[in-house]
């Protein structure tokens, strides 16, 4: 079963998306976990978080973006420009960070030069950077605008009941992933690489099928013995990472990644959306109160507390604080985590990397090797 997840995690298109499209149903891509997927799913549209696996050039990304920008949105633009994302029916851009929100303009402008790469539905979803009563109201209004736009463009009604139903479905995923984390913490029957594949698969397949597969897998894992075999237990923290090879290189150094505090990971499922009350309000409250991404400025202590709890829960021996180059928010915060984790007696290492093909595996391996030696 893990092979199914690995396959989905290793490519942009997958049999589930193909089947979905073959049934005449739309797919919408988005870049960041601050977008409530439940709303899109409630329209009968498959939400798919952008990834850029299989990237081999940045010729298009570098044409529109400037030189000192995070490689993740550049890679997405590259794939979009190459037509890899032409199967999408819509794109929603969120201001996850400056580089990410500029994907809006870069993609649209690239679309003026390269025919067919900009889908008919192209929407900007504004997410405040703080949790207050008035920012919540803004978020609720943004959701209202999004719902209206989706309904108008796709000719589908988004009912409260459909949203509630999808909240329940996504909560099921969240509960299962929390269970998976508990299994990893307790018995460690699975590598960090495979665990990441499981999370990634969820970003690119219909929720019902994902929950079905995930439930079966978690039940299976609960019966399996540990694979730790004397290896050091590491927690992975920082920027977005959807690179299985990155985790594999770390684990090949004699470690097992037992948990994370990342957006393709625990940060996206550690809390549940309220299932009662007004669904739009519940979604807004949930998504806007997630202060675990440094885009929410001024909530450092919440994030430190979360990491400390994750270290404790996963019984991690050390923490890898990684960030994509030019991701100043995670990069800088990693600097403070390094100080504060050290104060708490938790060994840690900082690591900057590029998004995309793992061209720097030698450097990463050397740094992780040295770190694990420290833990010995």
């Amino acid at each position: 079963m893990i092979e199914t997840f690995r396959q989905i995690a290793s490519e942009i298109q997958n049999p589930y998306i193909e089947a979905w499209k073959a049934a005449g149903k739309p797919v919408i891509g988005f870049p960041c976990t601050f977008l409530p997927e439940e709303v899109i799913a409630a329209a009968g549209i498959l939400p798919m978080r952008f990834r850029a696996v299989g990237i081999s050039s940045l010729s298009i990304g570098d044409t529109y973006y400037g030189p000192v920008v995070c490689s993740f949105p550049k890679c997405i633009l590259q794939l979009a420009g190459e037509g890899v994302y032409n199967f999408l029916d819509g794109v929603i851009i969120t201001p996850g960070c400056d580089s990410m929100r500029r994907l809006d303009e870069c993609w649209r402008k690239a679309g003026e030069d390269i025919a067919g790469i900009t889908p008919g539905f192209f929407h900007y979803f504004g997410v405040p950077h703080k949790s207050t009563d008035y920012s919540l109201r803004w978020f609720v209004e943004e959701l209202g605008i999004l719902i209206e736009s989706l309904e108008k463009h796709f000719g589908r009604a988004i009912t409260d009941e459909a949203m509630r139903q999808n909240i329940r479905k996504y909560n099921t995923s969240r509960r299962l992933l929390q269970r998976l984390d508990q299994v990893r913490a307790a018995g460690t029957p699975i590598s960090g690489e495979d665990a990441l594949a499981i999370v990634l698969a969820g970003s690119a397949m219909p929720r019902d099928e994902y929950n079905r597969l995930l439930e079966a897998l978690v039940a299976e894992l609960e019966q399996l013995p540990s694979i730790q075999d004397g290896r050091k237990r590491l927690l992975l923290v920082g920027s977005l990472n959807d690179d299985l090879d990155f985790v594999r290189v770390i684990e090949e150094c004699g470690a097992v990644v037992v948990g994370d505090a990342m957006c393709f990971g625990a940060r996206s499922y550690h809390t549940l959306v309220a299932e009662d009350g007004d669904p739009v309000e519940a979604l807004a409250r949930h998504y806007l109160s997630r202060n675990l991404c440094p885009r929410m400025f001024g909530y450092y202590k919440d994030r430190l507390e979360f990491i400390l709890k994750r270290v404790k829960d996963t019984r991690a021996d050390g923490v890898v604080l990684q960030n994509i180059r030019f991701c100043d928010m995670h990069g800088s915060e990693n600097g403070i985590f390094a100080r504060d984790l050290a104060k708490a007696g938790i060994p840690n290492v900082r690591m900057e990397r590029e998004y995309g093909p793992l061209v720097e595996s030698g450097r990463i391996k050397m740094r992780v090797d040295a770190f694990i030696e420290r833990l010995a």
């Binding site: 000192v68 995070c70 008035y134 400025f297 800088s332 915060e333 600097g335």
Partner: protein, 467 residues
């Protein structure tokens, strides 16, 4: 950090240099020349400023007073707020809080210190702040993280939603120094009822934060006097902007720096009003004589900076403009969107007006002013959305009619580096030659001024500008 770099407090060190420099105007020519020996690393830039006569002297006095108030704030019983250039200072002055504005302090360090701010830029990285972060904050931030300056009591910034790299510097400082933090967060659109409501609620919330951390209620009369000062300053700024439209532009190139530099440090104070009045008088005098504001009085070409200027040692950007007899028509930092500004005419919903009617009206005015500050207005949304960067660049170009546009930024500016190529393509399509300079406005280790100048000269030559 080098031991000798830690010998003097960063802001005090700059203050002593500026203080000595500001005395220049009080003596004879002979005394002035003798004094230059005491500011060896600042003498060139000092000469550029003093050459401007009364406005230059006013600027030096303003800088001296600002730095003095910062270095003596705690002794005077005042609170210090670490903040950013695009946070309008009047609200802080209304609370009698001294703004510790990182970017102006980086500029000052870059201009006047022997080694610029390299040591402090790098010290941030020693602590864990990324080297790819914006040098505009890092230059001074390093010193404050090292405890080498006025110690801030709290942090207020207004760049979340506008410039994450900027906001991140303040979030880092807050976490590292464990200081109370307030962020004004801006939605992606500047105009419209929704945005206005958000701006104002957020601003009122900030007033509550300031009341909590200063231990005092906002003083109505003090606020009213600040607001009236702002009103007068806005009127003068509008007149100056009107004059820039003349050909030749009678406004000296360095007034660009004077106008925004003064505002970022002392907007809302009588000192800034005095500076603006002196600038206006000189510009009007030039206009009467029908001469350009360049040193020679001639104007061969007109330049518009679509983002920031270049600040590394000795103010050489402005020297360059003067040498080539190019009028500097301003930068993005020159735009504040007061109603009455030539570029705000016909675009009233993007502008702001000041009211001193009652407390709420005054606070709302300041919120409106703040949400139109340079960068806050233009960079918050997609560059080609209404009221944003492209609209403003083209709109202002149509008014001041530059012969070319220059982009200068910092290597940390994810925002503008993400779409400057798009903007450049659009401005070129509008028939305005546009140069993107791959350099860092605050750190000439990225590209030396000589290299920048070479590219600049080459561009001017190849595009047959100022020939």
């Amino acid at each position: 950090m080098k031991k000798e770099s830690m010998e003097y407090q960063y802001d005090w060190n700059i203050w002593t240099i500026i203080h000595n420099a500001s005395l220049a105007a009080d003596g004879t020519r002979k005394e002035y020349e003798a004094l230059l020996e005491y500011v060896p690393h600042f003498r060139d830039v000092l000469d550029i400023i003093i050459r401007e006569g009364e406005p230059g002297i006013r600027l030096l006095k303003l800088l001296e007073e600002y730095l003095h108030s910062l270095t003596t704030a705690h002794a005077e019983g005042k609170k210090v707020a670490m903040t950013t250039f695009c946070m309008a200072t009047p609200v802080l002055y209304a609370f009698d809080v001294v703004p510790l504005s990182l970017e102006p302090l980086s500029v000052l360090g870059t201009l006047v210190l022997k080694r610029g701010t390299a040591e402090f830029l790098d010290y941030c990285c020693e602590l864990g702040f990324t080297e790819t972060s914006c040098s505009a904050q890092r230059g001074a931030l390093g010193a404050y993280l090292a405890g080498m300056g006025a110690s801030p009591d709290f942090i207020v910034c207004d760049t979340p939603g506008v410039c994450d790299t900027n906001a991140n510097s303040f979030a880092f400082a807050s976490a590292w120094l464990d200081l109370p933090f307030y962020q004004l967060n801006h939605p992606q659109a500047v105009a419209g009822e929704r945005s206005q409501r958000y701006h104002r609620q957020d601003f009122h919330n900030m007033i509550a934060f300031l009341e909590e951390h200063t231990g005092r209620k906002i003083d109505l009369e003090r606020l009213r006097s600040v607001i009236r000062e702002v009103k007068r300053q806005d009127e003068i700024s509008c007149e100056l902007s009107d004059l820039i439209q003349l050909r030749p532009s009678p406004v000296p190139s360095i007034y660009d720096l004077f106008l925004y530099g003064g505002k970022f440090m002392m907007g809302g104070t009588p000192q800034y009003t005095a500076l603006l009045e002196a600038m206006l008088e000189k510009a009007k005098d030039n206009a009467r004589k029908n001469i350009s504001g360049t040193r020679s009085g001639k104007e061969k070409a007109r330049a518009l900076c679509c983002y920031v200027d270049h600040y590394t040692t000795d103010a050489r950007l402005w020297e360059f403009f003067d040498e080539f007899e190019i009028s500097h028509l301003g930068s993005l930092l020159f735009t504040f969107w007061q109603n009455g500004m030539p570029y705000a005419r016909g675009r009233e919903q993007e502008g702001y007006g000041v009211s001193d009617m009652d407390l709420d009206a005054m606070i709302d005015s300041l919120a409106d002013q703040n949400s139109r500050m340079p960068m806050i207005k233009q960079i918050r949304g997609p560059y080609d959305a209404p009221h944003m960067w492209l609209d403003d660049t083209i709109g202002i170009s149509q008014i001041v009619k530059p012969d070319f546009i220059i982009y200068i930024g910092t290597m940390g500016c994810r925002n503008t580096w993400s779409n400057i190529k798009l903007l450049q393509r659009d401005t070129e399509r509008h028939g305005i030659p546009t140069l993107v300079l791959y350099c860092d406005a605050f750190d000439d280790r990225v590209a030396s001024w000589e290299a920048v100048r070479e590219r600049f000269s080459e561009f001017i030559h190849v595009r047959r500008i100022a020939s």
